[in-house]
Amino acid sequence: MKNYFLISWKSLLNRLSVVVLTLTCISLSTALLLTLEKIKDSAESAFTQTVSQVDLLVGARSGQLQLLLYSVFNMGQATHNVSWKSYQYWKNHPAVDWTIPYSLGDSYRGFRTVGTDENFFKYYRFKGQQSIHFKTGQAFSQHQEAVIGSDVAKNLKINLGEPLLITHGVTKGTAFVAHEDHPFKVVGILKATGTAIDQAVYVPLEGLELMHQESESVTDKSEDHDHDHNHDSSIEIKNITSFFLRTKNRIEVLNLQRSINQFQNEPLMAVIPGAVLSELWQNLSYFEVLLKVISWVVAGFSLLTLLLMMLSSLENRRREMTLFRALGAHLFQIAFFLIIEAFLISFIGVVLGWLISRLGFVFIGPFLNGTIGIDSISWGLNFNEYFSIIFILVSSILVSLIPAFKVSHQVLKDGLTLKN
């Protein structure tokens, strides 16, 4: 067996230029397959794991998807709020471990503002176990302090200590109604997470409430407004938009979900984020199918190149093959040479392709981070990647059966010497 590989190997070296061409095709298409697979995986995990370790997401009764989209992805708006009283009720429910309140509806130069509390920094998890970290600064502790996501910092070039003027309503560009008298000061910038977290400004619930009260007073009775910025802790929060919730015991989730959905005091809705997110991703999977189709078409073309290379070499190798036969090689053995040859080329091709795809991430990964959320390069292969690679190897062997069949036919016809 070793000798078969040796002979095939030397034969390939003898035809280096065409072989290199074929190798390039196979390795590039493998690289494409693996890269797209990786991007898809990262996009999927960035999407479905934008929030993890949260058992329930609770908001005013509306659509499941709507609640999820505005709470997790900054998309769309809430039509109703959750009253502070109801929030307190569920926050203190014996089955509940912790909650993260979200108060939405304002923005800063196109990025949404999230009113929340210190639990956000303490408990929010994404992509499994990952928690929120600060690139610089720390969490807010005063009403007028703000923390910004990494994309906000990068795109708007904001540094620590700078003031932010939050706009009412989610608008892009210059806002009409800016809460001009009520700037927040940036005290922390978050590390990139590759999720929607990067694209928001985080302020304390109290600060947001204060801002809204002032803006009401500006419009209602502007002349009476006393500009009193005494930020006492007695600010009364009226409502929030939604909240994340973690149970003490996972067994409670379904029960709790049912009781929240049947809550008498206010029409609330609780959804299990992971489940809804996965379902949503499934609905978006035409994107995935498209990527797959493209990369498999490319892989198909590279196999075609292999086939053409092998078929076109046969004519030049007739003497070689008849000689093998005269020296005692069985027809199967001669056909086997071509199969080994195809295997060698495709094997080297996929190994190169794997290297190219991983090195690609080493070099372009840093630029992608935050956009699609590839944050670490894993050199190993996941199930789908193994599948792709094995598929290419097996198909190249199947493809080589065509020239293998042809060569055994030809050798039979040629006899011992070429008579023509």
């Binding site: 002979i7 093998f324 090689a329 069985h330």
Partner: protein
């Protein structure tokens, strides 16, 4: 074994429509015998060797090679005989261009030839044959750098490393000049003597025939 080759009433044509190429009422090759088969180009000499090699089979009649029946189309035994007991030397293109001299000589072993000798014995035998043929300095050389005479000697080395029972040579000297031809024939005979190899030597060059045990004019068969 009585005969290396035994033929009775053999008829061969390439297809039912085409002319009969060979018609041999009777032919025997004794074990150890060296026969010179003469005939002009296109007279069927190569076709005869292919029949003996089991690459094609007789249209009718019986053909036995080394006591194995070669008369019918089927038979793994023909492949086995070819692999284990036959060697060939052709007029040209005896060597695989991308393998070096030694690799070319070892090729039958790589393709599955086995006769009970171990690695070391084969290597020793290889060295000895290279020496007998006067090409031991070429062992690691690329075959594309050899002269024609050297290539034929490498082919002879490969043929005899197998210690074949029967050597089929198809005009191996036709591209050599007179001096090289005689020298080459001499080593071929010495090696055949050494390994008790029977030989069918095919050529249109009658100048070589007096060294052989027997000379057959292919035209005499028809």
């Amino acid at each position: 074994m009585i005969h290396a080759i035994d033929i009775k009433n053999l008829v061969f044509s390439y297809s039912a429509q085409s002319e009969v190429v060979l018609r041999i009422a009777e032919f025997q090759l004794q074990v150890g015998e060296k026969v010179f088969l003469a005939g002009p180009s296109g007279s069927g000499k190569t076709t005869f060797l292919e029949l003996i090699a089991g690459i094609i089979h007789p249209t009718s009649g019986s053909l036995q090679v080394l006591s194995q029946d070669f008369s019918s189309a089927n038979g793994d035994s023909k492949d086995l005989v070819r692999k284990n007991d036959l060697s060939f030397i052709f007029q040209n293109f005896n060597l695989i261009p991308y393998l070096n001299v030694e690799e070319n000589i070892r090729l039958p072993f790589w393709l599955g030839f086995q006769d009970g000798r171990n690695e070391q014995q084969v290597t020793d035998d290889l060295q000895k044959i290279l020496k007998d043929l006067g090409i031991n300095s070429l062992q690691k050389k690329k075959v594309t750098e050899l002269s024609f005479g050297q290539s034929q000697r490498v082919a002879a080395a490969r043929a005899f490393l197998k210690r074949p029972k029967l050597l089929l040579a198809d005009e191996p000297t036709s591209a050599l000049d007179q001096d090289h031809r005689d020298a080459f024939l001499k080593v071929l005979f010495d090696l055949a003597q050494n390994f008790e190899t029977s030989m069918v030597f095919v050529s249109h060059d009658k100048g070589l025939q007096n060294r052989f045990d027997r000379v057959i004019e292919i035209g005499s068969w028809k």
